[in-house]
């Protein structure tokens, strides 16, 4: 009896330890062995990530995930994320990669690894039609909303601290709630991304495009495990291939429209 229990226990221990080791191995190998690529994507970020009329994930980021899976010859799986989940999901290993308009800040790079930029955005406001906000300076004394855990939130809070207007800020779980807040008059301006402004202003009669935010352009990167340099290298290569094959322009044209921004940073070698 005692012996059986001991054997069972050691078998259980072996089983758990094998699970632990697979979790820490090479992501590239893991994905190929598993046959599935798990992509974290933010789905409240139209037209980059959203749900179509059948409630299925769609958008620029979703296509990028599918393309990466196709390059690896594996299936892909979309893991819908909120903004503040983008980094934890990589740290805990629940996703192999995150396509989610993630700005490559140095602070974040201490936690996760970034590829070279795969899309460029800038922050812009959407404002209630009656608020009269036209320039950035008009935002003084107005109620500002953004999604929790995003760069716009952090950048705005720095400015708000200078202006002494932190109390006028309200964070929301999703960008959609930010837009609803502006549409319902709970906030005067919601800070979002330039690509989102057009679909939102088309959707709501009482929301118009607002001023561009004064902070720098958002260079957004694909996110992977920080320690896994081979995987990050592979992601870099993937990003350049998307551009070289014309797929980048094709998808940008489909979802955002117009010419895709050049993924080059003037005056510096990336």
């Amino acid at each position: 009896m005692k012996k059986t229990i001991l054997i069972a226990l050691s078998a259980a221990a072996l089983f758990t330890s094998s699970m632990v080791t697979t979790a820490s191995a090479d992501t590239l190998d893991d994905v190929v062995d598993r046959g599935v690529l798990r992509c974290g994507v933010v789905l409240d970020f139209p037209p980059i990530g959203y749900r179509d009329a059948n409630n299925e994930p769609a958008g620029f980021d979703v296509e990028y995930c599918a393309d990466l899976a196709a390059a690896l010859e594996v299936e892909h799986e979309i893991l819908p994320l909120t903004w503040s989940e983008r980094l934890p999901v990589i740290v805990t290993g629940r996703a192999d990669v995150v396509f989610g308009g993630t700005s490559d800040s140095l602070a974040r790079a201490r936690t996760v690894g970034f590829s070279i930029p795969y899309a460029i955005y800038y922050a812009q406001g959407v404002v209630g039609v009656d608020t009269g906000i036209e320039t950035f300076e008009d935002m003084r004394g107005k109620r500002v909303a953004a999604a929790v855990g995003t760069v716009p939130e952090q950048e705005w809070l720095k400015i708000a601290a200078e202006w002494g207007e932190e109390d006028n800020y309200q964070g929301y779980q999703s960008e959609n709630e930010v837009f609803l807040a502006v549409a319902q008059g709970k906030a005067d301006i919601g800070i979002t991304t330039n690509t989102t402004v057009l679909p939102i202003t088309q959707q709501y009669d009482n929301i118009v495009a607002g001023p561009r935010m004064p902070w720098t352009t958002d260079y957004t990167s694909v996110v992977g495990k920080r320690e896994d340099v081979t995987w990050l290298n592979y992601l870099n290569l993937f990003v350049t291939h998307q551009v070289r094959s014309g797929r980048y322009q094709e998808l940008w044209g489909t979802y955002v429209g117009g010419d895709a921004p050049e993924l080059r940073i003037p005056g510096v070698m990336y």
Partner: protein, 220 residues
Amino acid sequence: MEPTISFFSGLQISDLWYLMEAAWRTVLISALSITIGTVLGVVFGWILYEGRWAAALTLGPLLDVFRSVPLIIQLVLFYNFAPIIGLNLDPFFSGVVILGIYCASLVANVARGGMEAVSRPMRRAARSLGMSYWQDLRYIVLPIGGRAVFPSWVGVALGVMKDSALVSVLGYIELLKASQILITRTQEPLLILTIAGAFYFALSYPISRYAASIEKRWTS
């Protein structure tokens, strides 16, 4: 922009079907958690009842923690803790684990109350009739104590069903998460929330009425 792609679309009949599927997932995760939680909870309750001070010092405080920390914190903690020890659980299983333990911590108290509701003389009589300890539990304590605490148990079960809405923060698409998704797509919060609320009400109200009527019948 290409006219063929729309990022927002109105509510369609198929969306009602989508909500129904999500309601089914709410039922599924609730039923599983309540079953696991009840079985575990009865065992815990029995340990608390029989274990005296040993249980009061170990299991009691442990279960107390699950009752004293908000469920949403438990869910977030467990979901982020599991991968650290190498368990890659999806939102559904994380939800079942935490809801199950949470349910067990509540049922344990209910079960202990049920056992305490059976009077000592009754149990001594059962034993003196030649019943074994387990026969006594099965044929005396279960029917009498079970009856006494059945309404409380229904209350706990319905509570867990409603609390399953919190698993939406992990991304499991149950009823409330599905309605959030539809709100994002269609921008009709009031209508969709009303439908979701009606679903919850339809799940919970009949059961609570049924339990109330049974309670009335048993006490009269």
